[in-house]
Amino acid sequence: MPGPFSSTGTTDVVVIGAGPNGLACAARLAQKGRRVTLLEAEPEPGGGARALPDIAPGWPSPALAHLVRHIDPRVEAAMDLSRHGLDWMAADLPTTVLSPQGHLTLRGDQAEGADAAAWAALHRRLMSFAAALEPFRQMPPPRLAASGNAWGQLARNALGLRKLGATEFREFLRLILINAHDVAQDELTDPRLRAALCFDATLGAWAGPRSPNTLILYLDRLAGQIAGGKAALGLPRDGLPGLARAMARAAQASGVTLRTNARVARIEIANDRVAGLVLTDGTAISAPLVVSAIGPKPTLLNLVGPRHLDAGMTTRLRHQKSRGGAAKLHLALSDLPDFGTDPKARLILAEDEHAVETAFNPVKYGEVPDAPVMEIVLPSAFTGGQAPAAPHVLSAIVQFAPHAPRAGEDTARAAMLAACLARLERAAPGIGKLIVKADLLMPYDIERKFGMAGGNWHHGELSVEQMLFLRPLPQLSRYATPVSGLWLTGAGTHPGGMSGAAGWNAAEAILEAGA
């Protein structure tokens, strides 16, 4: 170590990373009277929700995330986000599946077409399962050992599952680890509805819909809520950066000191205890408590270093799966493209369940799919009619994309962009002529820009073997680390995602531990 660690600032708690979870965690700790400093490496807070540089002059870029599916109700209430400027352009967006056989729109349990009744029945059943699982997200993962569990809450949650009734409980146990594809084929006949189910089950995952354990990811989505609306899709005014700004304002109002452009170089450890941290510009901050929201891998492997961890944990962390399978496409357009449907919706470009699976196949081998599937949002469609007219932008999550392409990064990016544009041209003929500039973030670009390991937006795959008490690793699942005073939060910890739930849970765990 280069000389004794001397600091230029002191605080009770430092939270690293001002994404939604870091913001929620910092706000909660500040509300409970801690002096909290929140460090953000970028000029803007927000993480995956932050504003990105313009696509082209005059065309503002959407954030990495473009829709809100879940804001933890505890976070929403305690941070009072609407008072701090959160406003919805749409809080219950419909979904339209684009298909050569005609488009199909669905909203919650309502679907068009011959399968309407089947969809409603399936949706209601899955919603009831999701509701029974939801309480598990608002607590630290249960421990398998006898000690340390909040037994009362666990018993209540378990009872919630059993209260589904014998038949539904059995059905729950059958479906909990099933794949999305089989459920879609068993329950639905309309390929567009099958596509919608399979697409949403694998969105952001490194798995095709035929992979077992994918329906639970769909349940996880359905368990989300915004502004009291269950399983709703929200588009904030100004997009996700609007949400990020509201959260940052709320955190600051709670007393959090937010420092942007503050990239952490290392966490200082003395006698197996956190002493503080050092920024890349050399600034040292001493703090007895550090909470990192930037992901378990970068935190422990880079900022702490294997020197302070036992070899087993280092190996496990290295092997923890964090493959990103989603790319992000941003198009600056000279006009609103015509998909032949109301653009004020989330558009899914996937004609059936096979299209989703087929798009995943090549990614397993580090290759680019010929026909990617995508989720498209056209923010300017919602601000239409306003003066001055908003610039037209297309924001799409494109699946699936290789995180370590064999052909090399630039070649793969070019091939992926070409495949995306060809696919869009088929869905909206003439869109190619409207493109002013195209930006494609492949998983490796996302890793570089956002620090998400492997470009996986959950900071580590959200798959069954990395969920609950296994997230991110069994030894780290309760937000504490083996280094005294160092805690983890963020999407890489239970329950994943950018709802703020992980941040809130971690803050609660820290408060409960009296740390």
Binding site: R143, L144, A145, R162, A166, T167, F169, R170, E171, L173, R174, L175, I176, L177, I178, N179, D182, D186, A207, R210, S211, P212, N213, H319, K321, E357, T358, N361, K364, Y365, S463, V464, E465, F469, L470, P474, Q475
Partner: protein
């Protein structure tokens, strides 16, 4: 006369149930549609002088408790352990496998010293998972949604069973049960050939690829057996796999049982909600106090029971039970032992299983073909020449070769298999072998090519699924075959299911047949005789 029980199908599980019931003093009749017995555990002379194990081809999983209870060695069953095998690499090299852990370790070290060390840890971990699950094989799964004392007691038993494990071990177990074999092996190994070899057991017979989550469990399913107490070891039944069912039949008839071959089932006779016997396809009726089906749940319920006798939600559950076949088989009579130039002359590897798939990626691509409704263009083959160990199957100097092939879909691009498809499939497999053994095709005297179509037509496996139902979590344990009916019962009183579509699933294991027998005896309030570990289910 009225039999105590009639059993539909003389497969190994049907015969195991039959044996236990007969030993408990019941009058039992087994009816079989084919002119021979055995189901998928058969030895058949399809070309003069050559005995084929033309379905299942190796033994390991058959529960030793059953072998002892039913005195199968006395009735002629002998399992010959085999040596190991080899993976032939595309570049001409090979990875050998041996029965002996240390020999394997040395061979691994030739490919990757790191993997040789990892192999010790890997074997220990997998053994631990096996040891945990084996006691569950011979128990009726508890219904977690039931409040009956027996189910609650069983759940407590599992809880106690688990309490011997540390928190870390339980976490490891949950991971193992839910992961893909590819991810699981990545954790231990770096060499692609070693990973490819070890992944094999995770894909055999399943409609999953090595990168599909849940495939690691299938590995366990294939590892939890043993030969003569060597856990995970595999062997050949002397005289072909039919030796197992022949010994079962001998044990059964020795205790007074009767087997009627060439007797296809028409309908299960149901009166006032109770099964009272069976009508054969030729119109003959066999009256019995209970009817026990060795057929898979779909075939039993959808073909041989009047739909009006079944609750509608049960019928829909049975309909969606997944039985997608994924395997084919080539059975080949050879003029002489083929030569594989990559292997040293006189090497012991031909006395085990030979593979040509030297990376997990090739296996997964073979699965991608299956998903798109085609047989694999570069299939995975598990090639065995049992006659290197058991010369009784062929004339002297000749050989029988069994090639198990992954993947073959139940339908080709949505339509039924044709003979031309089958022949193309056979050619693909033979060509692959020829690439590693030039001149191989000249040795071929006769080939039987079996796709899921043939497996369904002859053995009666719905969609040709060799496990009578896929082995994914939604169809395992208390979910198998249908939630709420994992205790070998059906909605029709006195109609039972004892085949592999019940817990613990497929493979020539005998456990479903034994567990069903235990439940039936319990229901009939008869003491189980000659049933070891009878307490486990009674």
């Amino acid at each position: 006369m009225i039999w105590d029980a009639v059993i539909l199908g003389a497969g190994h599980n049907g015969l195991v149930t039959a044996c236990y019931l007969a030993r408990a003093g019941m009058k039992v009749c087994v009816v079989e549609k084919n002119d021979w017995i055995g189901g998928a555990a058969v030895s058949r002379e399809l070309t003069p002088g050559f005995t084929y194990s033309n379905c299942s081809y190796v033994s390991s999983l058959f529960r030793p408790e059953i072998m002892r209870d039913l005195e199968l060695p006395r009735h002629g069953l002998q399992i010959l352990p085999y040596e190991g095998g080899a993976v032939l690499k595309e570049d001409g090299g090979f990875l050998a496998m041996y029965r002996d852990h240390d020999a394997n370790r040395r061979e691994f070290a030739r490919h990757s010293p790191r993997d040789a060390e990892a192999y010790d840890i890997y074997s220990r971990d997998v053994q631990r998972h096996c040891r945990f699950i084996r006691p569950l094989l011979l128990r009726t799964p508890a219904d977690p949604a039931s409040f009956r004392p027996r189910d609650i007691g069983e759940l407590i038993w599992i809880g106690k069973h688990m309490s011997g494990l540390s928190e870390q071990q339980i976490a490891e177990m949950v991971r193992f049960w839910t992961m893909s074999i590819s991810d699981y092996l990545d954790h231990y190994f770096e060499n692609p050939v070693i990973k490819a070899y070890l992944a094999v057991s995770a894909i055999i017979g399943t409609a999953l690829g090595p990168m599909s989550p849940g495939s690691a469990y299938v590995l366990l399913h294939h590892y939890m057996g043993d030969v003569d107490g060597n856990v995970g070891a595999w062997g050949f039944a002397r005289g072909g796999m039919g030796a197992i069912t022949r010994a079962l039949a001998a044990s059964f008839t020795a205790t007074g049982g009767e087997i009627r071959t060439g007797s296809p089932v028409g309908k299960v006779l149901v009166k006032n909600g109770r099964a009272v016997g069976v009508a054969l396809a030729n119109g003959d009726e066999i009256r019995a106090k209970r009817v026990i089906s060795n057929m898979d749940v779909k075939r039993t319920m959808l073909r041989h029971v009047e739909e009006a006798e079944l609750p509608q939600d049960y019928v829909s559950s049975v309909r969606r039970f997944k039985t997608r076949g994924s395997s084919g088989k080539l059975n080949i009579a050879l003029d002489a032992l083929p030569r594989f130039p990559a292997l040293p002359e006189g090497a012991p590897h031909l006395r085990g299983d030979l593979h040509f798939t030297d990376s997990i990626e090739r296996m997964e691509r073979a699965y991608d073909d299956w998903k798109s409704g085609h047989f694999s263009r570069d299939p995975f083959q598990d090639v065995m020449i049992p006659t290197t160990i058991d010369p009784t199957m062929t004339p002297p100097g000749k050989h029988f070769m069994s090639c198990f092939v992954q993947y073959a879909p139940p339908k080709i691009e949505g339509r039924d298999w044709t003979d031309a498809d089958r022949d193309a499939f056979g050619r693909t497999c033979l060509d692959q072998i020829e690439r590693y053994s030039p001149g191989f095709k000249d040795l071929v005297l006769h080939v039987e090519v079996r796709t899921p179509r043939e497996l369904e037509a002859e053995v009666g496996l719905t969609d040709g699924n060799i496990f009578q139902g896929e082995l994914t979590f939604d169809q395992l344990l208390f979910n198998r075959p249908v939630p709420g009916y994992a205790n070998y019962r059906t909605p029709v009183r006195d109609l039972w299911i004892c085949g592999s579509s019940t817990h613990p699933g497929g493979g020539v294991m005998g456990a479903p047949g034994r567990n069903a027998a235990a439940e039936i005896l319990r229901d009939a309030k008869r003491p189980a005789r000659d049933m070891s570990d009878a307490w486990a289910v009674l």
